[in-house]
Symmetry: C2
């Protein structure tokens, strides 16, 4: 078992303390962290030389400097979803034994942002490099689940984009009546399924993957942050079995992810 590094932990602890009290004397940090002062001096000197904190000339108090800000990346909306989903999908996979993907919109397709395929004992084709894989909007379980629950204007935008596409896989975008039927069915059912004629494979290919899947959206109010699914070899089990056994878990997972995202916001 790998051990953690205590001195690094303490350094981060000091950083957190300085963030809770943005301008602090050594004494303040000491009160907050209970770390002995000589040690704090060394930690703060280290942080200072790394450009993470600086000292106020006026009174020598410490403050987090813009050095930390420069360490922070633009927070991509979907990155946060992926991060929140990862541990939940991991647990879900442990529980139901079948893997899941997290998919998010990406223009004329959805793309995989996270997956537990590597975790599943039964999924031999666990190609890594799965992240970023494009998936069809209108025929896949995930695309249908997303479109069925996302806000009206977002749905319209996607469909009008697909209507302009000349790929034959997007034919459904031009059959508004049939598409509305499909989406209503999805809403009534409460989860997304593949089109019976859809064989899977990345968007732009027709490589049959032999899988079946069911998908639920990550709904937060009227917003949809993405979709998660459960997939399994089509030959292994009929859809009804999986729905009966796993749908409640899948739904719980979706709710957990959304709750996590909500929590972050409030903090």
């Amino acid at each position: 078992m790998t051990k953690t590094i205590r001195s690094l932990e303490r350094g981060l602890q000091v950083l957190k303390a300085l963030n809770a009290a943005p301008i602090s004397s050594l004494q303040d940090v000491h009160r907050l962290t209970r770390i002995p002062k000589p040690t704090l001096l060394r930690i703060l000197l280290t942080l200072e030389q790394s450009g993470i904190v600086s000292r106020r000339l006026a009174d020598g108090r410490y403050r987090v400097s813009s050095g930390l800000t420069r360490l922070t990346r633009k927070p991509d909306r979907y990155d946060r979803v992926a991060e929140a989903a990862a541990p939940v999908l991991d647990r879900l996979c442990q529980k139901v034994s079948w893997p899941s993907d997290l998919m998010v919109p990406a223009g004329d397709h959805l793309e995989v942002r996270e997956t537990s395929r590597t975790q599943s004992p039964f999924m031999t084709y666990y190609s890594k490099d799965r992240v970023g894989m494009p998936v069809n909007w209108l025929l896949s379980a995930v695309g249908r689940a997303y479109l069925a629950y996302c806000p009206e204007h977002e749905r319209k935008k996607v469909i009008s984009l697909l209507r302009k596409s000349d790929r034959q896989e997007n034919w459904l975008a031009r059959d508004q009546k049939r598409l509305d039927e499909v989406l209503s069915e999805t809403r009534e059912r409460g989860y997304g399924l593949r089109d019976p004629a859809f064989v899977g494979g990345p968007y732009g290919t027709q490589a049959p993957d032999g899988l079946a899947g069911m998908a639920v959206p990550l709904r937060d109010g009227s917003r949809v942050h993405g979709v998660i699914n459960i997939i399994w070899p089509r030959a292994a089990r009929p859809i009804e079995d999986l729905v009966r056994d796993c749908l409640p878990d899948l739904r719980a997972a979706a709710e957990e992810i959304v709750a996590e995202l909500r929590g972050h916001k409030s903090v």
Copy 2:
């Protein structure tokens, strides 16, 4: 001499590397940092348990998580100025032996955001707790330097605010003609001086501080980030002496601070 903590330095180094390459395998981080992998594993585990990085389920790669974002504070405009000014004012004080303040607008007054009074060997009244001290807009050297160079609309806003004030120290706000004269003089001169009748002391008091001062703005294009000054006991030296000896240094300091602020932006 206090030493720094190597393991903490390395932890921060990893954080910087992960920021340069937001999603990295252990190998990637190793290439970037040249730190041995077993050590990296321990560092990354520590960062992970502190919520600073997380691992992608799909392939186990590391990514900076929103935990870091939560460690970052809203960047107050003037805090960045203070931070950039601190080392420059420190050096300036070492060179000219007289201390400086950094002042920024704060409603109906300016306030001290940073000061090198503690550094000066000659300034016995170095009260700490100087940060936050309010200073008069229209009579002080700093206020005049700021108003002389800040954008029109900002000047108008300040003056109209002061016109509503019933403090007698703000009488000049109601004498537009005299005020314009004062500001023109300041511009021609190139630096701000106290009103001859102004005795100093915080805004709202008339406590004579026995000081003299000269002030230059931190000009960045049409913007003014704040003002820095040099102060000395009025009895010690006539203004002309200080202008001759120190004004070039003061101006250079102002330019250095502005350059630093510009640099941060571009990075």
